[in-house]
Structures are given as C-alpha cells and as structure tokens.
C-alpha cells in the first residue's frame, strides 16, 4: 500500500523545464553598489534608493534566523546574482510585442497571457525571474480606477501611493529575509483598489524563476481602500536545477475600513529531487494589516513545492471588528522541510481570527506548524479559533505543532485544537470494499482531510491545487 501512496504523493515535477532566453544578469555578489545598480536600472527616485540602502545596512548587522525547524545548507549570499531580467525588456503596448518564447513559457505553465484570459476573468501579472513581463487587462481595470501593474511601473507612475504604503506593514528591518528583500527587490506586483470598488475579476501574479544562480526577490503591495474588495491569486514554479535557489519575497496587504483582501497562493516551486538535491529555498514574509474597522484579510495557501519553506502569512487586526483568516495545506515529501503557519495579532476590539492548518507529511519530509495568536489587552471581546491537523504517510516523516497563544484580557476567547493521524488501513479497506481502488481511496481521504482549505480557494485555483496533490476533484455532487 505504502508504495502506491508514495507514487501518488511524489508525482514528477511538471514545470521543471528551462526557457532559453537571453537575460540581462548582473554578476553574483552583494554590496552597496549592487543595491545602487538595481535601483538605477529601475530608474528609481532617490528616496527609494536610500530606503534600499538603509535596509541593506541593517541586513548586514542581522543574523539569519536559526529557530525554524529546518535543515538546509548554509546560504552563500555572495554567490547569488541579485538581478536577472529577460534582455531588452522594454515596455509593451500590447502582448504582441512580448517575446514569443516567453509567451510560450507561460502557455506551458498553463497561464495564457492572451486576451483569452478575459473569458476566465482573471487578470494576470507575470514575473519572470525578477521582472514583471506582462500585465493583462490593465485597461479594463483602469476604467474602474483599479491600478494593477508591475511594482516598477507603480514606482514610476504612482510614487506617492508606493511611498505611503511600502514598508508600512513589513518594515525593512522586520526580519533577516525581509531586510534582504527590501535592499534588492527587483519587481513584483502592485495593486490598488479605490474606495468602494469591488474588483470585477480575480487578479493574479505568476512567478517564475528561470535563470540559474539567481535569487528571486519580488515585492507585492496590495491596498484596498474603504469598502473595496479584491481577490488575488499567486502561483509559482521553477525549473529543476541541481543547485538550490533562493526566493525571498515580501507581500504587504492593507485593508482600510470595510475593505476585504483575499490572497490565495498555490506554491509549487521545485522541491528538489528524491535525495534532496536542488530545490528552492523559500523564505517569504507575508503580512496583512486590517487598518480599518470591519476590514478583512484572508490568506489561503497550498504549499507543495520548495525544498525549504519558511513562511508565516499573518494579519495585524488593528481596526475594531476586523477579521483575519489563514487556511493552509502544506505537503512535504522526500526531503522537503516546511516550517509554516501564521500570526494573528489582535489589537482592535471585537476582532476575530480563524486558523485552519492541514499538514501532510510523506517520505522523509518534515512539516512544522508554527503559529502565534496574541490577544492584546485592549482587544476586548475578540475570538480566535485554531485547528491544526497533521497526517503522516509512512514512518520516516514527521509532523510538529508549535502554537503560541498569548491572551491578555478576560472577555476574549481562544480555542486551539490539534490532531495527528494517519490514513487508516480500515478507511482504505472500506473504500476498496465499495469498489474504489487504493489510489483513489487515498486521494479521497486526503482530499477530505484538506477540504476545509480547498473550499476557500477560487475555483480555478482549487482545481490546480487538487491536481497538485494528486487528488481528483470531487464531483459536483460532493
């Protein structure tokens, strides 16, 4: 039985191809000059160059965190190239001008940048290595006053907005990897939904690491003004390479009064081979701030890729009556290590948060949930509910749960539940007796286990996520 399970969980990585395209890559190494070069290449204003330099100087004094339950080779930050972009990337007026090889790459990844996307109603910003290559539907969105563009473009076109919000949720000195990102980030997505506007389509960014020896350091900033709503999707893939590649992104979300931001990720970076060779080191800082009253920020993530995952999408519940949510499925197999979870910081009154984390460990994978729920003294009548479930497949993996619960007032309540179990032989036998083969039985059981999270994903992402887990989608009856 276990063989079938392993086959199932360890399907071959489908996105492991490389694209032959000429890139403009600066030599490996990191110093103040490199930071300046990046800033200059992007034609940035002086304040941003200074901001980067401050981040870099701080980063040099910081130490890489050692507390995560992760094992990885020491990262040599001087051997990484901090900027790589498809050559001759100028601004495009239409997609026809984009290098066809690039478009083909995205087509292979299942994301068509063509206007066909209009049919499925998803606007896409694609980040190739470090640079945003195309953003679809810009015009449609502009009519509504929505800004959806690459981060570099936002710096040029909307500097006041960028200056106002950049680093307001994740300050440049927040942590080691956020500081590194702040110094060298190359591109990413910027999204601004004005007051009262409900974004009519899902916004999506597709991240792709292609070049070798490069790191990817993108920066995403999403601002939803009073009463605005946006649902944002993020997908990631990378080629199969023997060496490890570093991905250190920062995502900042801001929700003003009555605004809602829903952020979904299907993370499928290359995880390395069976013996743990290669794969992406994914050190990501994602944080949202419910700045306004009655605002809501919701994170949904499906983590199947990366050799190393270090990621805690969090919500600062500052506005009264604000809501934070975190739904996560994390799968580790072979030699993957994931240390992931969330932080819910309750500051405002009547704030509510929900955490649902489902960890699946297989092979020699090591899966850790690490979460913090902090209910401040003034966050009266606040609520948190946390559920952390782990499933183990095989006897060489592990599942760990490290929740931190800090409560400082008596009118609030926090409930945390966690369980660890395996796929039961009796469950499989029962399914088989009803005519379902082992593989499908396991799929069904895993799917049932992770269902609470999948149901929070937008439809097209849910399909992708379930496929990723080797799970056939439950029929419309389900």
């Amino acid at each position: 039985m276990s063989e079938t399970i392993e086959e199932l969980v360890s399907q071959e990585y489908k996105y492991g191809f490389t694209t032959n395209i000429e890139t403009d890559t600066i030599p490996p190494g990191l110093n103040e000059d490199v930071v300046r070069i990046i800033s200059k290449k992007k034609n940035e204003p002086e304040w941003l160059t200074d901001w980067r330099l401050k981040a870099f100087r701080l980063w040099k004094t910081m130490e890489e965190p050692r507390w995560p339950n992760l094992q990885y080779a020491k990262i040599d930050y001087q051997s990484i190239s901090y900027y790589s972009a498809p050559k001759e990337m100028k601004k495009y007026n239409s997609l026809d001008e984009v290098d066809p090889i690039l478009l083909e790459t995205y087509a292979k990844l299942g994301i068509s940048l063509t206007e066909q996307k209009r049919l499925s109603g998803v606007a896409v910003d694609a980040v190739f290595d470090s640079v945003s290559v195309a953003t679809t539907f810009k015009e449609t969105l502009r009519e509504k006053g929505i800004i959806f563009c690459s981060f570099s473009e936002a710096v040029q076109e909307h500097p006041d907005l960028v200056k106002k919000y950049l680093g307001s949720v994740v300050p440049y000195g927040d942590n080691y990897f956020a500081a590194l990102n702040s110094a060298v980030f190359s591109d990413g997505s910027f999204c601004f939904i004005p007051r009262g506007v409900r974004c009519p389509m899902e916004l999506s960014t597709y991240f792709r690491i292609n070049a070798s020896n490069t790191g990817q350091f993108e920066r995403t900033l999403i601002v939803a003004e009073e009463g605005a709503y946006v649902s944002y999707l993020e997908g990631c893939t990378a080629p199969m390479r023997d060496e490890n590649q570093l991905h250190a992104a920062v995502v900042e979300l801001i929700a003003l009064d009555n605004a809602e931001v829903k952020y979904s990720t299907v993370q499928n970076w290359y995880a390395g081979d069976k013996n743990g060779k290669g794969g992406i080191y994914n050190f990501v800082t994602k944080r949202g701030k419910c700045l306004g009253e009655n605002s809501k920020i919701s994170w949904t993530q499906v983590e199947t890729g990366s050799a190393i995952t270090w990621k805690y999408p969090s919500v600062i519940l500052q506005g009264d009556n604000s809501i934070g949510e975190f739904y996560s499925v994390a799968v580790v197999n072979n030699r993957q290590d994931a240390d992931t979870g969330t932080k819910m910081l309750h500051i405002g009154k009547n704030t509510r948060s929900t955490i649902v984390s489902k960890g699946i460990s297989a092979g020699r994978g090591n899966n850790t949930y690490r979460g913090l729920v902090n209910i401040g003294k003034h966050a009266t009548n606040s609520r948190n509910y946390t559920q952390c479930d782990s499933m183990l497949i095989g006897n060489q993996c592990s599942a760990n749960t490290f929740p931190y619960i800090e409560v400082k007032n008596s009118s609030s309540s926090v409930e945390h539940e966690a369980s660890t179990s395996k796929i039961g032989e009796d469950q499989i036998f029962y399914c088989k007796q009803r005519g379902i083969n082992t593989e499908n039985a396991i799929s069904m059981i895993i799917n049932g286990f992770a269902k609470e999270v999948f149901k929070n994903l937008p439809m097209e992402f849910a399909v992708e996520a379930q496929k990723l887990l080797g799970i056939s989608l439950e029929g419309s009856v389900g």
Partner: protein, 449 residues
C-alpha cells in the same frame, strides 16, 4: 564570571566545607560537575525559548544562602498541613533539612523505606547510586544544575517489589524565613517503586510565614515494571516566596503513573515535569491546576516522551487567573518513530477572571511515528456566559454564579486525582483558597460524580 555566578561558586566552597560532608564521595563528584555546568551556563534568560515567558531575574538577583541548619517551626503549623488528620506516613523537612521532631514514620509496611537522603546512604547506598542524578540531567536546566551542585538532603522513598502502600506517604517541605538572610533550600528527592509496587505520595510545599525563601527542588521518580505510582503535589507557599521544581519521572514496562500538580503559592513558581515512558503498554496521566492572583506567575513546562509502542498518555491542566497574575503552560508531547499506536491527549484550559491577567500557552506536538492518535487542545477565555446565564435564571446572583462556576472549573481537574484521601485533601485546599481570594465563604465544596 558574572556576580550571580560568583556568588554561587563562593557559596559552593562554603557548602563543601560545612554542609556537604555527610554524603559519600561519589556524590561530591556529581556536585562538582553540576557546578561546572552551572558556572558555564548561568541562569536562564527570556532569550531562551524555554524561559521566554518567565523572567527569573527577581530570583537570580537576590544573594541566596543555602540554609545550613534546621530551623524550628511550631507543631500547630505542621499539623495544620496534614493530609486528612494524622493518619498518614509523614516526613517533614524545614528549609531542606530533615525534621525528626515533626516526622511520623511508624506503621509503614514491611520493607518500605521513607527516610531523609543523608541517613538513607547507610542502608540504601546502592539504590541511590543507581538512580540519583540519572534522570533529571543538569545539562539542560540551570536550576537543576544548581540543585545538583548543592545536593544535600531530601526525601528518599523506596517501595520494594510487590509491596503496596495503602495510606499516602506525605513528604512535607516547609520553608521558614531567617531574619536578614535570603534562604535557599536545594531539596533533592528520590522515589523508587520497584516492580509491581504500589504507592501514593503527597508532595507538599508550604511556608511557615510570609517569606522570600527560594525552594529549588529536584525530584526523581522511578516507576519500575508494573508499578503503580501516584504523586500529588500541593504547592501553597507564601506569595512572596520563589519555587522551582524539576520533577522527572522514568516509567518502565506496564507501569501506571498518575501525577497531579496543584500550584497556588509563590511569587514565581516554575514547574518542569518530564515523563519518559520507557516501556511498552505503559500509561501516564499528568494533570494539574493552577490558581494565580495578585502579581503571581506560575509556569508549568511538561514534557511527555513516548519511546515505545502502545502507550497512552493523558494530560489535563487547568488554570484560574485573577488580578494581575500570569500563567504559563508549555506542554510538549514527543513521539519517537518506534512509538507506534501512541494514544496521547493533552488539554490546557484557562479561565481569566481579570482583564489584567495574562496567559501564555504553548501546546506542542512533535510526531515521528505515523500510526498514532495524538491530539491537543488549548483554550483561554472568561466565564462562559451561557453557563452563567443558566445559573442566573435559577435565581443565583452574578457573584455566586461566578464562584460556583469557578469551583466547578477547578473540580474538573481535581477529579483526576485517584487516591480518594488525596483528592479530598486537594479539593479542600482549592476551595479554601478560592474562598479567601473571592472574599466570601459562600462557595460550594467540591463534590465529584
């Protein structure tokens, strides 16, 4: 070397010359190496994960002296601390020194030994040597290292194979202040239940008066094959005193251990309770109740280590917090790859009765075996409004409802105590304590189903 460490090395030299002479030389070797570890590490700070929420600098900054002589305490005080009258086997220590005057050790079943450690070397040196400092290792915990460096006296309990002790054995540790001195007692206890033995122990800590004593205890418990051991700790020291204990239990094949920790005393109390389940089909029940008020901080760190298959462990800790007090609970369940079919449940529930009280709870699971059933839950909240409403609709006042529900909350924990005499003992202490803190006699006695 920091001042703190320097203070203790000087203390140690004095101790070597005066207090340590009554022990065999091999004990001295253990002391020296423990001191070396302590001087190397120093006291823990909140930068260490294990001490993140508990700042011990109020303890470490004071120049504590080990108590070199036994002090007198009144008999009335001792008898007020008895378990269920005087029908018990009682051994009393004052500031860590054996008090023959107050101990009552007659009528023990044949072969059972309850002595102070110093006099037990003469009769049980081999048993002591086999177990002392073998379980509560001093490499991890600086307070344990300090205790080990100052190993002198404490309780020694030995129950031979197949012997059952029906009446509880009461180990009573009383701290008493000495004017002008910060008194420390480094108490070292060893409890050994041989194969098939059965014993229940009350493990009591009280203060003779309001004092600032430091009671730093290490208790090692060995539960051999098929033994049944219950230990009920009652810590009700003065709320200006400091209390640290590392209780370490090593369980073998098919033994059954019940532990209960009641903590209502001390300004800062830190309890490390570790259980190594070293045998198949072995059961451990670890439960506790803490009630904090004023500016108290009570910290429980528990560690349940599953090594072998088919072992159930159950853990329930409940906390009641008042005023500006704080409570910390850190429960770790660790399941080794070989420990298949582990059935482990851990629950921590906290009742906050004040907006100024703070709870930090961290229920952790580390699982390396796939065929296990492990769950944990933690909850923090105020009084349940629905329950409270139900009582009120029956005509009960707000205040009484609060009191009754608090007693009920506590009773859910104390009902886990197996020995009926010890359960009554704890129930009474809990309700008396709550009556004092609520400022009313109008609280119900605990009745169990």
């Amino acid at each position: 070397m920091s001042n703190e460490i320097h203070h203790y090395t000087a203390e140690f030299q004095e101790f070597q010359q005066n207090g340590a002479t009554k022990s065999p030389s091999w004990v001295n070797d253990i002391r020296s190496s423990a001191l070396a570890v302590f001087t190397d590490r120093g006291f823990p700070t909140t930068k260490l994960e294990d001490w993140k929420y508990t700042n011990v600098s109020p303890i470490t900054k004071l120049p504590y002296h080990y108590a070199s002589v036994v002090s007198a305490v009144p008999s009335e005080l001792v008898s007020s601390l008895f378990v269920d009258g005087i029908d018990q086997h009682l051994i009393v220590f004052v500031n860590g020194h054996f008090s023959e005057e107050h101990s009552k050790l007659n009528s023990l079943p044949a072969g059972v030994t309850v002595k102070n450690l110093i006099s037990a070397y003469a009769t049980h040196q081999e048993v002591i040597k086999e177990h002392l400092s073998k379980y509560a290792t001093y490499n991890e915990n600086p307070f344990t290292a300090l205790n080990t460096a100052f190993i002198n006296d404490g309780a020694f309990v030995h129950v031979p194979a197949g012997v059952s002790v029906e009446k509880p054995i009461h180990l009573l540790f009383i701290s008493t202040g000495i004017n002008g001195t910060y008194v420390a007692a480094h108490i070292r206890n060893l409890i050994v239940a041989e194969e098939g033995a059965k014993v229940s122990i009350a493990h009591g800590f009280s203060s003779a008066q309001a004092n600032t004593n430091l009671t730093n205890v290490v208790t090692e418990v060995v539960a051999k094959k098929e033994s049944v051991v219950e230990i009920v700790k009652v810590q009700r020291e003065s709320d200006t005193a400091y209390h640290v204990e590392n209780l370490h239990v090593h369980q073998y094949h098919q033994s059954n251990v019940h532990l209960f920790s009641l903590a209502v005393g001390s300004a800062i109390a830190r309890n490390d309770i570790s259980i190594i389940i070293d045998g198949e089909s072995t059961e451990c029940n670890l439960n506790g109740l803490y009630i904090t008020s004023g500016a108290q901080l009570i910290d429980h760190h528990t560690f349940m280590h599953h090594i072998h298959p088919n072992c159930p462990s159950h853990e329930l800790f409940k906390g009641i917090l008042m005023d500006k007090s704080r409570a910390v609970f850190n429960g770790k369940v660790y399941v080794e790859p070989e420990a298949q079919k582990t059935d482990s449940k851990q629950t921590n529930r906290n009742l906050l009765l004040s907006d100024d009280a703070v709870v930090d709870t961290k229920p952790e699971l580390e699982i390396f075996a796939d065929d296990v059933k492990c769950t944990h839950g933690a909850a923090v909240g105020g009084m349940n409004e629905t329950h409270s409403l139900y009582l009120k609709t029956r005509g009960i006042s707000e205040g009484s409802a609060r009191g009754m529900l608090t007693v009920g909350f506590a009773a859910e924990a104390t009902q886990k105590i197996v020995h009926p005499v010890l359960r009554q003992h704890v129930d009474k202490i809990v309700v008396d304590h709550l009556r004092k803190k609520f400022g009313t006699a109008n609280l119900p006695d605990i009745v169990h189903a």
